[in-house]
């Protein structure tokens, strides 16, 4: 901030000197305040983990590692396992990303590079608006509008033409992993689009001009100069989207069918960690049952953490490769 001072009008600088003492006190307060807030955040996170750990302890003690590998979820006999929920969480998020990433990157490139000036702002604004729709509304829309359409014609067509693949086997209920994945795609597209568009816009004009000056086409300019330059930003956007997809609860609960199964078919109803916890926590009773639901939450926390670490490593790697390459 000091480097800025010479640029400012002299009168203002003089005023600053007069009130320097006051500013120092203000700075001190400000530093302490922000320090307090950041420590508060870290403390909350740690406290949260400790409390979750304590409440999950009966389940951790009883089931140990088998909690992760078991497919049982039987509240009557108090036997609990997380595998179908972990599977459902990863599968639905993967479907969501497979659909969302090309669409998001495509629209981000179009809106930042190709679209006529008058349509850039309104279009970006509208896409970002999509992120503001409450998930329960998206879920209701999914249940009453999207799911019937996915059952007939999409699943019926896939089933009759590609039904020999395990991926498209089983009765077409409409609700299931496929619907959950599509709902997640709709919910993460605005996030990935917005972040990617920002990243692409931030690429210096000189990069583009240099590429065009070499005689590149527009496609070559985007593919070879723009996208590699902002790769870390793009990965960041996808990771943000994935984070949302892993934890999304309400909309997924409404369209995934909530069966606790481990099926290879995309048509099969399933469950995610978040949907399982949201469905059963209210009416759960008994330390072991509640403990198991909380342990599910811990598993989700671990998955999200792992995904974030992998993404950080990816970003870090791409950044370092690029900087050494230059």
């Amino acid at each position: 901030m000091n480097q800025c001072k010479p640029d400012r009008p002299a009168a203002e600088v003089a005023g600053d000197i007069v009130s320097a003492a006051r500013a120092r006190i203000g700075d001190a307060i400000f530093t302490r305040l922000t320090l307090f807030f950041s420590i508060l955040m870290v403390t909350i996170l740690i406290a949260l983990l400790i409390v979750l750990g304590i409440d999950a302890w009966p389940a951790i003690q009883k089931f140990g590692l088998s909690f992760i590998t078991s497919v049982e979820w039987d509240p009557v006999n108090e036997v609990f396992g997380a595998l179908p929920a972990i599977y459902g969480t990863l599968l639905s998020s993967a479907i969501g990303l497979i659909i969302a990433v090309p669409i998001s990157l495509g629209s981000a490139i179009f809106l930042s590079e190709l679209a006529p000036q008058w349509m850039r702002r309104p279009c970006s604004f509208l896409i970002e608006m999509l992120a503001a729709i409450p998930s329960v509304i998206i879920g209701l829309w999914g249940l009453y509008v999207m799911v019937p359409f996915i059952r007939n014609p999409i699943e019926i067509w896939l089933g009759s033409n590609l039904g020999f693949l395990p991926l498209f086997s089983g009765p077409p209920f409409g609700v299931g992993f496929l619907s959950a994945g599509i709902i997640l795609a709709i919910m993460v597209i605005p996030i990935i689009t917005a972040v990617s568009r920002e990243a692409i816009v931030a690429v210096p004009l000189t990069q583009r001009e240099a590429m065009l000056a070499l005689g590149a086409t527009r496609w070559e300019m985007i593919a070879r100069a723009v996208l590699p330059y902002c790769r870390s930003g793009l990965v960041g956007g996808v990771v943000l989207g994935l984070g949302r997809a892993l934890g999304e609860t309400m909309a997924v609960t409404m369209v995934i069918g909530n069966a606790y199964t481990l099926s290879p078919s995309l048509f099969s109803p399933g469950a995610t960690i978040a949907s399982k916890v949201a469905s059963e926590f209210n009416e759960a009773s008994g330390d072991l049952y509640i403990g198991s639901l909380i342990e599910l939450a811990l598993v989700l926390f671990a998955i999200t953490l792992l995904v974030n670490i992998i993404a950080r490593l990816l970003v870090w790697r791409t950044v370092s490769v690029r900087s050494t390459g230059e």
């Binding site: 800025c4 249940l143 069966a259 109803p269 469905s279 759960a284």
Partner: protein, 364 residues
């Protein structure tokens, strides 16, 4: 940079202003409570199923007496744990407290009462083209086998045998269940356990069970939505929900051998003409009354016998007394069933047993 600086200090100012305003507000807001120390507030929490009725009751009761009752519909499980912890004056539940829960409550605060306030029933709904409401007949055994996935087709001999006049399709049955823990599932599985030993040993009776069925719907709306959308499906929802949404429901064979459609009258009948235990901890499923619908259960308010605060205890007992008498006139307009004769007497006895320092709070 200058702009960013201004921006940051702007935010800091906003936070400080908010803090000052907040601190300023906090002081006066405490004073009204002290000025009206006489007014009595009762707090309750629990079951969502009777929440619309309770909201109406407590609103009307407040107009009559000035007693303010706050009810939080957080679910039966939540209601039970809050009354065990003693953080509310009464709990509410659709299921009977387990022995372990009762022991926990009694060790902390002494004996606890289950006072029935109304009863509800569960309608079995279906989506079969050309077959209208009430036309499909089912027995408890067949229903259990459908949910055990042992009967998988609508034209299974077990179903066609009890529906001789109906043309049932050669189609797979999609069994829809409630995915969230609920009193509806509790009543439904309680009934299936009574009529099918296999269901009892394989699945059991709880608010959430391990369904072998196909699809889980979230709430009554989720189950009904799935059933309406998926051809050849079957599901179960609260009677009130099925009635308000004009869903096609099945006639069920009751313990006396009659096929009965769900209705408020058939729900009330389930508690009539049969002997009820004095503690009212009974599920009304599979009632012996020949006019009763078989999937019926009470919903209860949970209160401690020994009240710690005289004024509150008195207000609570009077409110409960009003609810099981005058309050009953609000039940049917809101599609809840009336309490029948002997139930009211036994509920009265329970309310009369509420004490403050070993003395009954209200007398007949």
């Amino acid at each position: 940079m200058r702009r960013i600086n201004n921006w940051i200090s702007g935010i800091a100012m906003a936070i400080l202003t908010a803090a000052v305003v907040f601190a300023g507000c906090a002081a006066p807001s405490g004073s009204p409570a002290t000025t009206q120390a006489k007014s009595i507030n009762l707090n309750g929490a629990g079951a969502t199923f009777p929440a619309p009725l309770y909201t109406k009751w407590f609103d009307e009761y407040n107009k009559l007496t000035g007693v303010k009752v706050n009810y939080q519909p957080i679910g039966s499980g939540g209601g039970i744990s809050q009354i065990i912890e003693g953080t509310v004056d009464f709990g509410a539940t659709d299921g009977i407290m387990t022995d372990a829960e009762i022991a926990k409550a009694e060790s902390k605060n002494g004996p606890i009462l289950h006072i029935p306030t109304t009863s509800g029933s569960v309608a079995v709904i279906y989506n079969l083209s050309g077959i209208g409401s009430g036309q499909l007949k089912l027995t408890g055994d067949v229903l259990a086998n459908i949910y055990l996935k042992k009967i998988n087709k609508w034209n299974d001999p077990a179903i066609t045998a009890i529906n001789p006049g109906l043309k049932l399709p050669d189609a797979a049955i999609a069994a829809v269940f409630r995915s969230d823990g609920s009193g509806t599932t509790y009543i439904f599985t309680n009934y299936l356990c009574k009529v099918s030993p296999e269901f009892k040993s394989g699945i059991g009776n709880a608010k959430s069970v391990k369904w072998p069925g196909d699809i889980g719907g979230q709430g009554n709306a989720g189950v009904a939505g799935q059933v309406q959308q998926i051809p050849n499906s079957i599901g179960y929802v609260e009677l009130a929900y099925a009635e308000q949404n004009k869903l096609a429901w099945a006639s069920l064979k009751n313990a006396a051998g009659n096929f009965v459609e769900p209705s408020l009258t058939a729900t009330t009948k389930a508690a009539e003409g049969i002997t009820l235990p004095d503690d009212m901890k009974v599920m009304l499923t599979d009632s012996a009354n020949p006019e009763a619908y078989p999937i019926v259960g009470f919903t209860w308010i949970l209160v401690y016998v020994n009240q710690k605060d005289k004024d509150k205890g008195e207000a609570l007992a009077k409110m409960l007394w009003w609810a099981i008498h005058d309050g009953q006139k609000y039940t049917e307009p809101l599609t809840y069933a009336n309490l029948a004769g002997s139930t009211v007497t036994k509920a009265e006895n329970a309310i009369l047993s509420i004490k403050y320092q070993e003395q009954p709070i209200i007398t007949r």
